[in-house]
């Protein structure tokens, strides 16, 4: 789960609108908090793996 450090909003990665990354191969990217619009730095691969793992466990 991604958490916004500015307002505390927590959600899955895709809840946070993708903004950009500085290089295509960078691990992290900027996303935007849906609640306060602050920029959040997200480790894309780690988050996705964690989310998929969670989905598998829930299934």
């Amino acid at each position: 789960m991604v958490k916004c450090e500015n307002c505390g909003y927590e959600g899955v990665k895709s809840d946070f609108r993708y903004l950009y990354n500085t290089t295509l191969d960078a691990e992290t990217a900027y996303r935007e908090c849906p609640q306060c619009y602050a920029w959040v730095v997200v480790n894309e691969l780690e988050e996705e793996r964690a989310e998929k793992q969670l989905q598998r466990e829930n299934a």
């Binding site: 895709s14 950009y20 990354n21 500085t22 290089t23 295509l24 191969d25 960078a26 691969l45 996705e48």
Partner: protein
Amino acid sequence: MAAVETRTIEEIEKSGQWWWWAEHKRSKRLDYLRKAVWKKGAKGSGYQPGVKVDLERAVLFTEAFKANEHDSLRMRYAKALANVFDNITIFIQDHAQIMGYLGSRPHTIVWHPEILFLLNEDLYNDRTVIPEPVDENLKLIRELCDYWNPQTTGAKVFNLVPPEEIVKLLTGVIGWGLPISRIGYATKQWDYMFRLGLEGIIAEIDERIKEAEDRIYNKVPDPEDLPYYEKLDVWKSMKVVLEAVIRWARRYSRLAKIIAENFETDPKRKEELLRIAEVCWKVPAKPPEHLHESLQFDHFIQIACRYEACEGAWPARPDYWHGPFYDKDVNQDKVLTHEEALDLTGEFLIRCYEVGWFWLMLARDTLQGITGTWVWTIGGVNEDGTDACNDMTDCLLEAARLVRVANPTFAFRYHPNVRMKTLREVFECIRQGLGYPSMRNDPILITNAMHWHKHPLREARRWVHQACMSPCPDTKLGCQPFRMANATIIAAKAIEYALFDGYDNVLQMQFGPHTGDASKFETFEELYQAWYTQVKWMMDTLVKLTNGGRYMAQFLDPRPLLSGLYERCVELGVDSSHPSERGNSWITFFAWMETGDSLAAVKKLVFDEKKYTMAQLIEALRNNWEGYEEMRMDFVRAPKWGNDDDYVDQIHVRCHRDVAKHSWEIKDPTGNPWPPLPENIAAYVTNATKVWALPNGRRLGDTLYDGGCSPGAGLDKKGPTAVLRSVAKIDHIGDVRATLLNQRLSPQQLAGEKGFHIWHSYIKTWAELGIDHVQFNMVDNETLKAAQREPEKYPELIVRIAGYSAHFVDLNKKTQDTIIARNVQELGV
């Protein structure tokens, strides 16, 4: 600040804060003028605080335009412009020696309401630039908008193509704006102007007028005489406005004299003002004879042309044209010291830097930090092939380091016989973090100009940058009257359209032609041909409108002043947009290098290795890679341009070659081809939200590659030589009109004498490989990151974007990030 003054040059060099060095080295006059200048470039996309729109130009122009409604459109424009020159408020800044200002106050930017209704509405809605009293001026702006909007050139151009194509053009995917001559920029024909002065040109026009009157008034005109009715109007409108320019210059002369004789108490300044009065009385009416006069002549003409139009670039070759005057005054007659020449030259740069007009937010965003791509050409060769570098070249480079303006910047025409003294000055500018000059490979570009537009050798050697990149001779038939600034495409969209059957996922409309369901493509060749169809369609769609706009401009949007400055136009009695020059069209390909990298990734992972299917790829892209991060990283890790890897490089070369081939199939109004010119200015950032996810691994929002042939930021993993080897696989004569390579070098590695030799070796290799362009940023990440954190401490830090330089703090964070992300290349010794 006091602590900084105690640092030695070596300490400043180490810190990379060269602006402090400049502040202490330049003369008091230059220091005053540099600090007094108003920055007109946008910060991000908004104007700087305090900058206001100038309404005088708009009101005076409209007043006279309305008063002469029975004249031809051309003559109405001429009289409207003459009214501006005769009546706009003029002023003389303390310590200034070069006169001429675009606007009636130092902090103003002019507005051209006759050009584009979108621009007019942008102004009405931008309260930050409305001068006091705001309510009253808003009412005035509304009235002007209502008067002009239906008859702006933009409104007329809309009628040239079907409405559905206009919609596509307004998206910015095809065409950056509309083809309007008053948004175009022009190379000036200095040999004509400096030889005759405006009075001499008017005398030539008078002869033509007499000839026309003899043909149509003093006898029954024969059929071949009938075009002289129109020619007569062309010549008379030229004369109206050229005479007005002389009167405008002489208003400065009178003002300087009045101040000198009635108000100035400092005897030295009084003497200066009287000299200014003499200079402004003489030029541009008569040919210049001294450096002060030639610089003043040049500046008056450039400003006058910007009262006529929004010339968004500033083609110039100042060392070539002003060099003989420097040599005469400083070296031969010794009537001017080098320091005095340096003061004039520094001010010449500052006067250019302060020029600005109110411009569309879209354009401001794409040219963050500056008002136009004012790339001045220096160095190169003479018509006979000898080295053209002179003491004025060195003076310009030295002045640039002292005033450190982000605009104009220089591009240096490098050739094997360039004088070493000048090359060292070039290196010093780059080393001191200006980001310019960019380096241009002169022999390659001379041949390139001959190849594409058939310029004869001697004229091709006179080439000048039209904007950031394209070489065009400043000769009678070589001068391109204006570049249609709209002639751009976002080339990466062709890949998107090939993958989605012509559908635009961002704009959510069918955009390109149907080229089939890509999820069912079974071979790489099918994908490639779909892409080629899409890119050809983009080029054709653009060229249709641009050719129409160019041809029709002589009727819809005449430019009497610019026309009167071209020998060709005076001789033929035609408007500058009449297609009678040799031609120099090109299509700017924004976001071009994503093409080859995307195609190579699909070829490798889908068709060669079969790790993924086309259907899987389309699905991942449709989702903007969301939920497909591991797969995305596979596509990112596929072979990329800039690593001397033939797998991907040959695909790039094939794309270049096929596009070049098609460019011969679409002719411009002069009958010449439309070659591709890949580059990006800051469009690689602004277009990031217009290009959907691509197979090179980018997502919607990620910045595009920053150059024209630069590798993607951080994707060149094998060092500077591998980058050069990849880039050298492009034929820089036959594949492109020009292309842009960004490189970052380490300031620490290139310090001192050793640094120069390392850089020089690199440049020799670059030149021998036949690459036409390279430009450098030589500021380390530590400094850039510090400037992000504490911008107030780094107001003068300059960086190279892509085709222009800007103060780092005037860029938005995303653009700043992209510059930091570029790999710093360590050069081998």
